[in-house]
């Protein structure tokens, strides 16, 4: 989880996690040069179709958060119950904008 929050991607143990992280950060920062470099790195190591699939997921998750935050949908009960400790550890409960 700390890797996802950007603290230590390497420690996440995700195969090619740093490549993935650089790509998502570059796209979300709208940094064209950085995106081009990250894109090429993924193409070189994982192939073009992997790069396309990664770009697609990043694009989709530029939608879901905006939809959730614009309409104020809450966490489902089951997810809320399953993430009590994690939300406390990450301080997420302070981010209730309602």
């Amino acid at each position: 989880m700390c890797g996802v929050m950007g603290d230590n991607v390497t420690a996440s143990g995700l195969p090619h996690g740093e490549l993935m992280n650089e790509f998502v950060e570059a796209i979300c920062a709208r940094d064209t040069a950085r995106t081009a470099k990250a894109r090429q790195a993924i193409v070189d190591i994982l192939g073009e179709s992997a790069m396309v699939d990664a770009a697609a997921v990043i694009a989709a998750f530029n939608a879901y958060p905006r939809m959730a935050d614009a309409t104020g949908i809450p966490l489902e009960d089951a997810k809320e119950a399953a993430t009590v400790e994690m939300r406390q550890e990450l301080g997420l409960n302070a981010l209730d904008n309602g």
């Binding site: 796209i27 179709s49 396309v52 989709a60 939608a63 935050d69």
Partner: protein, 245 residues
């Protein structure tokens, strides 16, 4: 005639290419509450929002309400629409119930707001993917004639958020199939006040990500990254937007 994503600089899955082509064209077609020129104007304003000085100052401030002023807009849409679009694009992690209700008080019909949010999101998503694969943004399509029918769905209710939505148990026969695969997650329900627009949006999202996220692995799915890598990208993009849903 070749469509916009037929000429992508990299090979795209057929289903993904077709979904992107549909989404691109639909930006110019009459929706449920907005006509074609309005939808194109919303998409254009969404793309323009990134360069808005007020949005940048608000983004840098401790609260979006600490900075006042006027948005740098293209001048095609009412003030309340422009503010809604800019906030969704540039600072979605700090949207609030206050923002939602002030937007409606500013003169927007709730159904219009939902379609504006959807079109805004689609413009962001299309651009995000296009930039990601290193493709120039395709030229905007030409607006199609025709009117939106502006038909309000009375079965929609508030209760799971700020927006009225259609619950699975309240869905009428023409919309019940939207919940067919038991994907009753609130995110799927979030924009259902405008059912046809919701279908248009999810027709794109299903191909970018996946139709049923309860899938544990990617059996039968044509993907070249792992489920773990997909979920990492998903969570990381959400965190960068300040969304902790």
């Amino acid at each position: 005639m070749a469509q916009a994503y037929d000429t992508a600089p990299v090979a795209l899955r057929d289903d993904l290419r077709d979904a992107l082509n549909r989404a691109h064209e639909r930006l110019a077609q009459p929706g449920s509450w907005l006509d074609g020129p309005q939808r194109l104007a919303v998409a254009a304003e969404a793309r323009h929002a990134w360069d808005c000085a007020l949005c940048q100052a608000r983004k840098d401030s401790i609260s979006p309400y600490a900075v006042t002023g006027d948005h740098a807009s293209l001048g095609q849409l009412p003030t309340a629409w422009v503010d809604a679009i800019h906030r969704v694009v540039t600072d979605s992690g700090r949207l609030s119930a206050r923002w939602y209700h002030e937007t409606l008080d500013g003169g927007m019909v709730e159904d219009e707001l939902i379609e504006v949010i959807s079109v805004t999101v689609q413009a962001v998503v299309i651009d995000c993917f296009t930039a990601g694969i290193g493709m120039d943004r395709p030229a905007s399509p030409t607006a199609s004639p025709g009117q939106a029918d502006r038909s309000h769905r009375t079965e929609a209710k508030t209760g799971t958020g700020w927006a009225a939505t259609i619950a699975p148990e309240d869905a009428k026969p023409d919309f019940a199939d939207f919940y067919d695969n038991d994907s009753h997650f609130y995110i799927r329900r979030s924009l259902t006040l405008v059912p046809d627009e919701t279908r248009r949006l999810w027709d794109l999202l299903n191909h970018l990500y996946m139709e049923d996220p309860r899938t544990i692995e990617l059996d039968g799915m044509d993907r070249d990254i792992s489920r773990a890598q997909m979920e990492f990208l998903a969570a990381r993009a959400s965190a960068l937007l300040g969304c902790y849903y």
